[in-house]
């Protein structure tokens, strides 16, 4: 036996190294590829501001709802704590495991997950991809399986799993939690006020409704304005030494750099319309737009502290970003405090934005609470006014009224907004 081994030792050693090479190759094949994450810090040299907001901060969920053991749902509202950030920080320490599909195309099952008893739910204003979720919460869930996410449901009853819900086709996914601290998740407390809410499926859309009237405070902010020269240089300048020229055209100034790019600035309301024909060959893939548009936002130099992704439309090729205050979006007819970015399949990129945004809050004296009616009574009023058929969606937000040319401060008033002919309109406007 030993003699045999001795005479064949070379063959045996060879077999061993070949086997080891197989094992190592196997490890490489199964090991997930290491992507380099987008940098957390980005500086824009010309605007004198430094953004610490990473891509994950712009694509954060905006509402946080706690469902009690009795099924009662409450929106957690705080003027002091940043609950979403607290949850984000907590979830980043979690280890998520395998993903599996629970159910699709069943709206009753979907609604039951939205109303999951004894749970915490984070909701995005609109669908984000699995990659964005992974980036925000420092996870690596299977993005081939989870195509999109609207809600993250975290059960609090001790089951070590979370659910990812996608409104499109009512998809429900289960993700195993291998390690996670459920005790640190936010509760209703001293600085957290519960606002009763409910979830319903109306006209095929999952919607959060307010079954009772509630109050929200008016808010005041200082209007910050970016200089048009900064914005135009940020958007038009490249490494190539092209000079930006501008010419006045009544109320508008047109900036061009001699290539396919131009920027039109409207003096009357401070809005900017930018167009860039990058050509067919450079079209950014739809899945990559979340990162692409984040980089554009950083490039513009606008302060990103409260900017959140709000909506994707036109087959996910147009994204809308808005300023959020205390979990509610600011809505303005001229697009103040936000941006609309579009990348068409034909290779034309267009951005609509404004010079005005809000950053520094101001104190308001006296009683500033606004009583908002329940969603049902808003819908009933709209029914009575015959405008109901043109309305496709409804939400609560803050109205930024009027023009900012003359005023350096703005008062934001909470109200219901309805989507009327594809635009968000203060519902009281329709009742007039």
């Amino acid at each position: 036996m030993i003699k045999k081994l001795k005479s064949n030792w070379l063959t045996i050693a060879l077999t061993l190294v070949v086997l080891v090479s197989f094992i190592l190759s196997g490890i490489i094949w199964t090991n997930p590829f290491q992507y380099e994450r987008p940098h957390r810090e980005n500086s824009t040299s010309s605007s004198q501001q430094f953004t610490t907001q990473s891509m994950g901060d712009v694509y954060l969920p905006t509402t946080i709802v706690r469902t009690g053991k009795d099924g009662q749902q409450n929106l957690l509202y705080s003027q002091r704590a940043n609950l979403i950030n607290d949850v984000q920080r907590n979830l980043c320490d979690w280890k998520l495991g395998r993903t599996s599909e629970v159910k699709t195309n069943n709206c009753d099952v979907y609604l039951s997950y939205l109303r999951n008893r004894h749970s915490l739910m984070l909701s995005y204003p609109d669908n984000v991809t699995g990659e964005v979720f992974n980036e925000t919460f420092d996870q690596s869930i299977d993005t081939n399986r989870v195509k999109g996410i609207n809600h993250i449901v975290i059960p609090l009853n001790g089951t070590h799993e979370i659910y990812l819900l996608r409104d499109y086709h009512y998809e429900v996914y289960r993700v195993q939690v291998n390690k996670g601290d459920f005790a640190k998740l936010p509760k209703i407390g001293r600085h957290v006020r519960p606002i009763p809410v409910d979830h319903k499926i109306i006209k095929g859309n999952a919607m959060m409704v307010y079954p009772h009237g509630f109050t929200l405070p008016k808010l005041a902010y200082q209007v910050s304005d970016q200089r048009i020269n900064n914005l135009s240089t940020n958007l038009l300048s490249t490494n190539r030494h092209t000079s930006v020229t501008s010419h006045e055209d009544s109320d508008k100034t047109v900036y061009t750099d001699g290539t396919n790019r131009h920027l039109i600035y409207d003096h009357t309301n401070g809005t900017v319309d930018y167009e860039n024909d990058i050509g067919n060959s450079n079209v950014v893939a739809t899945g990559q737009l979340y990162a692409h548009f984040y980089n554009i936002l950083v490039k513009t130099g606008m302060p990103l502290d409260n900017i959140r992704f709000d909506q994707a439309k036109d087959h996910n090729r147009t994204f809308i970003y808005r300023t959020y205050v205390e979990g509610f979006p600011i809505i303005n007819t001229d697009g103040y405090g936000g941006a609309k970015l579009q990348a068409s399949q034909s290779g034309v990129e267009r951005y609509w934005m404004s010079l005005y945004t809000v950053q520094v809050p101001l104190p308001l004296s006296g009683d500033q609470d606004v009583k908002l009616p329940s969603t049902t009574s808003v819908l009933n009023e709209l029914h009575a006014s015959n405008q109901f058929k043109d309305i496709t969606d409804l939400r609560v937000g803050y109205l930024w009224k009027g023009n900012s040319q003359d005023s350096k401060v703005v008062k934001l008033v909470p109200t219901y907004f309805v989507k009327y002919h594809h635009r968000w309109v203060d519902y009281t406007e329709l009742l007039k």
């Binding site: 070379l10 063959t11 050693a13 060879l14 190294v17 070949v18 080891v20 090479s21 190592l24 190759s25 490890i27 490489i28 090991n31 290491q34 380099e36 940098h39 810090e41 500086s43 004198q48 501001q49 430094f50 610490t52 705080s78 003027q79 002091r80 704590a81 940043n82 950030n85 005041a220 200082q222 302060p303 502290d305 205050v325 205390e326 950053q359 520094v360 809050p361 101001l362 104190p363 308001l364 004296s365 005023s407 350096k408 401060v409 008062k411």
Partner: protein
């Protein structure tokens, strides 16, 4: 014989392959970390050392804070009401600053004046609202001992919330002046601030830290961002205050960076007209 040689060659080839692959697998993590590590801030810190700028160790942890509004409280405000309790001193108000002379001097240790003064400050009958203040070694010197008001667990480094004790050459406190910021209100939910290291490198990048100088301390505190025209309310913001000493001429300057958006702050806060908000 020939076959054996082929076996040898294969053995070596596979052995080499195994070693390289195994090595890259085990070292992979280290590779990815080192490729990310020399980020901009590290590079800037190196440049600073090359320019002979020394510094206290700088933390890279983001902190958090709030926008806070408040009003200076005067004779008719909270400070005036609490001052009614004061004993063994004569005080008066200069607009909204309380100035007081103690009837008997308080002897303090020149190195640790807070040891004795903490007792005084925490006594309602000696100092009004004293529990809101903390000893501030950085602002104190031999002739004045400064206590700063606390706002959301941080110092308020502003003349709007301070107690300044006068110390004479015999190390005796004979009187003090006091201001108090009342009705502090959080205006917006908690938000992250830039890190200490970030603030210092930012100043350096904007050529505000001269060569051959020393960053003596960098502290996060609240300072006034702007005044509003409604009821004298002001807005305070977390600020990195950085003290820099130039070694050549031994001058000391304090620089301030808004910790929310890293803009460099002017020494006089701006004012906004908020009258239109009242409508």
């Amino acid at each position: 014989m020939n076959f054996k040689r082929i076996q040898w060659i294969f053995l070596f080839a596979f052995l080499l392959f195994d070693l390289i692959v195994a090595g890259s697998l085990f070292l992979q993590n280290r590779f990815t970390i080192t490729s990310n590590a020399p980020n901009r801030q590290e590079v800037i810190l190196k440049e600073m050392r090359a320019d002979e700028i020394t510094s206290v160790p700088l933390s890279n942890h983001a902190q958090s804070g709030y926008y806070i509004a408040g009003t200076r409280s005067g004779k008719n405000g909270e400070l005036g009401q609490q001052a009614d309790k004061l004993r063994d001193q004569s005080y008066h108000f200069n607009t909204d600053e309380l100035a007081s002379d103690l009837e008997t001097g308080v002897k303090v240790d020149p190195k640790h004046p807070d040891k004795r003064l903490n007792r005084l400050v925490n006594d309602d009958h000696s100092i009004a609202l004293g529990s809101h203040y903390k000893y501030d070694a950085q602002l104190s010197d031999r002739r004045t001992v400064v206590y700063t008001q606390q706002l959301a667990d941080r110092d308020l480094k502003s003349p709007d919330g301070q107690i300044r004790f006068r110390v004479n050459s015999n190390h005796e406190v004979l009187g003090y002046t006091q201001t108090y910021l009342a009705g502090a209100r959080i205006l917006r939910p908690k938000a992250d601030t830039i890190s200490q290291r970030h603030a210092v490198t930012w100043l350096y990048k904007h050529n505000l830290i001269p060569n051959n100088s020393q960053v003596r301390w960098a502290e996060l505190a609240y300072t006034k961002l702007l005044n509003t025209s409604s009821h004298n309310q002001a807005v305070y913001v977390p600020t990195w205050i950085i003290e820099v000493r130039t070694k050549n001429d031994d001058t000391v300057q304090q620089l301030r960076v808004n910790a929310f958006n890293s803009t460099i702050m002017r020494s006089t806060p701006s004012s906004v007209n908020t009258s239109s908000l009242g409508k």
